[in-house]
């Protein structure tokens, strides 16, 4: 039994409830015990760092202090934005011990910051700590026939000196996990393009334009759906998709699922556990491809780019 300190983030109890729910299911199957940080607070993403300096560090720091009290080696974060803020803060605090001490002693009441917890995104945790082999061993209902475009967004792998995870240009970890589930990960050039995340409410034109391009390229890849690991990416690509279709005249009909939903499905959990009715773009049609037999499933040739990126991951 592995133990993991868990930071869900604000959207886990709202827009990304299906992520939180399926994450808990699959972690149980994988024998990981998740301990949620008691009384965690919003990390401030994405506004605190835009507007302030000290508060931008203090909000994530309070969570780090609370997390360290649970005495697990690693803290796993569901939301990519929270993950990024937590990692950036941790790096900054660890590089500037004087600043860390100042904020710790003047702003935070919850105790001493030690800086001894490892922060990982849940995708990173699944890939590095559990590994595709173990995940493959838990599959009871392979997703054969399902074609997916894995979309990482900007914050899971960038900046490289903050995340230290996968390739910032052409990551493969989620692709490898999806192949472990039996699905086919398609070549997809917009894996790490930004969806416009933090402008979701204040600047919808930008979100529609950026997310529109991602949908377009994902559609061209031949994928039945987009797989994500970030609640902001999910809601931008899913909830805004009908508007993007209306404004561009294109028809995408591309459902956007969390990687944990597909893991849960492949691990044999019933469909109702995936909370599919929460999706704005219907999922059923895409899932009906599961079980279709590919003409030459083994001889899928990866391009040079994919092979290079894969070796970089290793």
């Amino acid at each position: 039994m592995n133990k993991l300190t868990y930071f869900p983030g604000c959207s886990a109890h709202g827009t990304s409830e299906e992520f939180d729910h399926t994450l808990k299911l699959v972690m149980k199957t994988l024998d990981v015990q998740m301990e949620e940080i008691p009384d965690w607070n919003c990390c401030g993403a994405t506004s605190a760092h835009v507007m302030t300096e000290n508060l931008a560090l203090a909000l994530p720091m309070r969570n780090l202090v609370l997390a360290e009290k649970l005495e697990n080696k690693t803290m796993g974060i569901a939301c990519a934005s929270c993950y990024s803020r937590m990692k950036v803060t941790k790096k900054h605090l660890d590089e500037h011990p004087d600043l860390a001490h100042k904020i710790n002693t003047t702003i935070i009441d919850e105790g001493e910051y030690k800086g001894d917890i490892d922060v990982k995104s849940m995708l990173q945790y699944c890939f590095e700590e559990i590994g595709p082999e173990v995940i493959k061993s838990k599959v009871t209902k392979p997703l054969t026939g399902l074609k997916v475009a894995c979309y990482y967004g900007c914050l899971l792998t960038r900046p490289k000196d903050v995340t230290h995870f996968d390739s910032p240009e052409y990551p493969m970890s989620m692709d490898i996990l999806m192949e472990a589930l039996g699905a086919k990960a398609m070549e997809f050039d917009f894996k790490t393009e930004c969806c416009g995340a933090s402008f979701s409410i204040s600047n919808t034109d930008v979100v529609e334009s950026l997310s529109g391009k991602i949908l377009e390229v994902a559609k061209e890849s031949g994928a039945h759906m987009i797989v994500v690991a970030c609640p902001l990416c999910q809601s931008n690509l899913d909830m805004r998709q009908p508007d993007i279709e209306r404004h561009t005249g294109q028809k995408f009909a591309l459902p956007v699922m969390y990687f944990t939903q597909l893991m849960a499905l492949a691990f044999g959990f019933p469909e109702k556990e995936l909370k599919l009715p929460k999706h704005i773009v219907p999922v059923q049609e895409a899932l009906s491809h599961i079980g279709e037999i590919e003409p030459t499933p083994e001889k899928v040739k990866k391009t040079k780019k994919a092979v290079e990126a894969e070796s970089e991951v290793e």
Partner: protein
Amino acid sequence: MITLGLQDQNTFLEAVNKKSGANVLECYQCGKCVSTCPVSGYMDFPPREIMQMIKLGLKEETMMANSMWFCLTCSACSGRCPREIDIPAVMEAIRHLAIEENYRSDNKKVKEIRKFHDIFLDMVKRYGRNYELRMMAEFNIRTRNLFKDMHLAPKALLKGKITIGHESTKSAKAIQKMYKLAGKLEKGEK
């Protein structure tokens, strides 16, 4: 006065470098950031020009630009910059300088973006956490655009995509105290 390259005479450049931890002088104007940036098309001065403006000490023009408000901190530019300059940190530094020194752009989008961030931070101050529906509603009220995104609401609510209720952290009070202390600390540093 234009003082290109003379760091000791360009106090603006000095301030940006100090705040961001980057060295803007290292930029050799290749423009890779501009072609990489997903929002450079929306900026009045794309990142390359901002870098040059800082080098030239054009403080007023830089402070009133919309560029730093449009930056998404996606770090695509810094990942590809051949000089490995942390451009998002530079954008953040000039944004913070603009706030501290009270530069306010009349650009409608900049005003809306700033308003959104204010609402977001207010929400976290009140509850310790954030609630999407409330935030959307408040944004619409405070930008006097009541019907923005309203067509999405029924479906999103019906499907449970957005929830009405919300929870607070037990220590919302502790967060409020943090805001106060962080504000004090910032004032003390000025």
